[in-house]
């Protein structure tokens, strides 16, 4: 495993008595692409601003390569930020924008010119030296903002929803470019987004946040397949989240029917939440073949698959399938034991507060 580059230790921050971050602990390894993912207002930007030095935490420390940098001003930190709305210097041309950090560090003209060329090539904007920022499209400006940051060879690059203002196609192109950049440069990325698809595509590690608390940290696969609580399951992709009872190891009662599962160690007759992804719900033509029975209530064609809703035992199951049953059909519902994810129910009210907002 690579070395830890940054450590956020017991970070708390509140504005006007409103807790925004509460005892946040997080470490980032060298050359990791880590994404902070969560709904708007959950404290992602605040976390980045504390890392960048634009905000001091009320409590806790920021440790960078073993040194406490909590109170170091932004200009003394070995990291750079790509801001949400580009934040280019509109009174300077592109070359001057990119050269800004290097000139401050008194680099030679030859070195700076070299770097400008190199950075523009890297972001596929060769020959843009003399253009003004306002004459560029959103995507181009964003790439200049990235170029302006990386010429300084930071150890850590912070990106705050850098693709948020771009349209879908451009966003996807830029996602690939960012992954390429990360691989070419070997810089550590901390990436902020509220877009779960973006997070799943780009990250080595995803940190799911809600209301100032970390809900789960893990690889994209782990976050998607094994969400630890209802909030994560609900936020990452579509899912059926159902209150259930763990009868015993490897057996769970969902909506009055018993399903085999693979989870153990939850105890006996314990209330839990289960999450079942819509693509993991199997519909059987013969209702008796299913574990429970229901009626198709809604069908939409989505291109790759059909999206169906099935009313069964008082719950509206969301189903994605390549096969289609017309509305009104009686069907059976089956789920592979491996695809039933069991989650602990939030115990205290405090935990409830950080869960799903219903």
């Amino acid at each position: 495993m690579k070395n830890v580059l940054v450590n956020l230790e017991h970070i708390s921050k509140s504005y006007d008595g409103q807790m925004v971050l509460d005892d946040l602990n997080l470490y980032i390894r060298e050359n990791e692409f880590l994404t902070l993912l969560g709904p708007s207002g959950c404290g992602k930007t605040t976390t980045l601003r504390i890392l960048g030095g634009f905000e001091t935490p009320d409590k806790g420390r920021v440790v960078f390569e073993g040194a406490d940098i909590t109170n170091l001003p932004p200009n003394k930190r070995q990291l750079n930020t790509v801001f949400q709305k580009y934040a280019l210097f509109t009174h300077m041309n592109i070359a001057e924008n990119i050269a800004f950090g290097l000139k401050i560090k008194n680099k030679s003209k030859a070195y700076i010119d070299d770097k400008i060329k190199y950075a523009l090539k890297l972001v596929n904007l060769d020959g843009f030296e003399k253009r003004m920022p306002n004459s560029l499209s959103g995507g181009q400006q964003q790439r200049i903002a990235i170029a302006r940051a990386i010429v300084n060879e930071p150890k850590l690059l912070l990106l705050d929803e850098p693709l948020g203002a771009l349209d879908l196609k451009l966003r996807q192109d830029m996602q690939y470019e960012l992954i390429r950049l990360k691989n070419e440069l070997g810089i550590t990325f901390i990436y902020v987004t509220h877009d779960q698809e973006e997070a799943l595509t780009m990250s080595d590690t995803i940190v799911v946040m809600n209301q100032g608390y970390i809900q789960q940290i893990g690889t994209p696969e782990r976050i998607y397949n094994e969400p630890e609580n209802a909030f994560v399951a609900d936020f990452i992709g579509e899912s059926n989240i159902i209150g259930a009872t763990m009868i015993e190891d490897r057996l769970v009662e969902i909506l009055g029917a018993r399903f085999a599962c693979v989870d153990e160690g939850f105890g006996r007759n314990k209330p839990v939440d289960v999450v079942i992804r819509p693509e993991d719900v199997e519909l059987t033509k013969n209702p008796a073949d299913g574990t429970i029975q229901g009626v198709v209530s809604h069908v939409i064609f989505k291109g790759v698959h059909y999206e169906m809703e099935v009313q069964a035992n008082g719950f509206e199951w969301l189903v994605h399938s390549t096969g289609m049953f017309p509305v009104g059909t009686n069907v059976g519902i089956k789920v592979d034991p491996f695809n039933i994810q069991i989650m602990n129910k939030p115990e205290s009210e405090d935990e409830e507060a950080v869960g799903v907002n219903e």
Partner: protein, 272 residues
Amino acid sequence: MNNKRKLLSIPYLLWAIVFIIIPLFMVVYYGITDKTGAFTFANIAAIATAEHGKALWLSVLLSFMSTVVCLLLAYPLAMILSKMNIASNSFLVLIFILPMWMNFLLRTLAWLSLLEKTGVINNILKFFGLPTMNIINTPGAIILGMVYNFLPFMIMPIYNALVKIDPNVINAARDLGAGPFKTFTKVIFPLSIPGVISGITMVFVPALTTFVISTILGGNKILLIGNVIELEFTTTGNWHLGSGLSMVLMVFIVISMILTAIFDKDGEGSML
């Protein structure tokens, strides 16, 4: 739709014609004719006489100095204001706005009673046994009057330019290694230049043409070009000479306005 808009603009057009275009033409007409109505350049050329030239030079000098003082006072003030949450500091804003609601003449007369030989300031000095000061009827008094009256016109456009700067652009400068001083010289100040230019125009032009301030605080001992023109229209009654000199002054105003238009594309100054 388009026709409706045209109709709606008619009152403004009429207003502009009656109160701007026609007077302007009359000034030009008087400026280039003599008493008999014959064409002449003499009224314009009269600016070159020693008396008029001196008045113009003094006007330019005092306006320039007032503008510089206004800029030096206004910039830091505008910066402080721009960093504040205006809603929660309305008292501070009120302090700046309140004098503007007072009549221009009253404001200037107030300074007269403060600065006079037997005025408030000298009385206080006398009370403490200090030597009295001779402020009234000096160029200094006129500069003081100009700065006091026109300072808000410098603060507002600079303030408008500063609040328009995206805080993240300033953060970006810090992020890229600039300390507070370099951030100011390389980012904040250059981005506020449109406001500065607007402010300069909005102080320099009225200062250059004022005759009220110089009459009250200069006691008719110091003649500015505005006073000369005013005298031609009121006392001497030579409208031709007055108009000719006005046209010369207008050249300065037009130059200032062109400069503003070039630098202030976002219209910081137009907010007033």
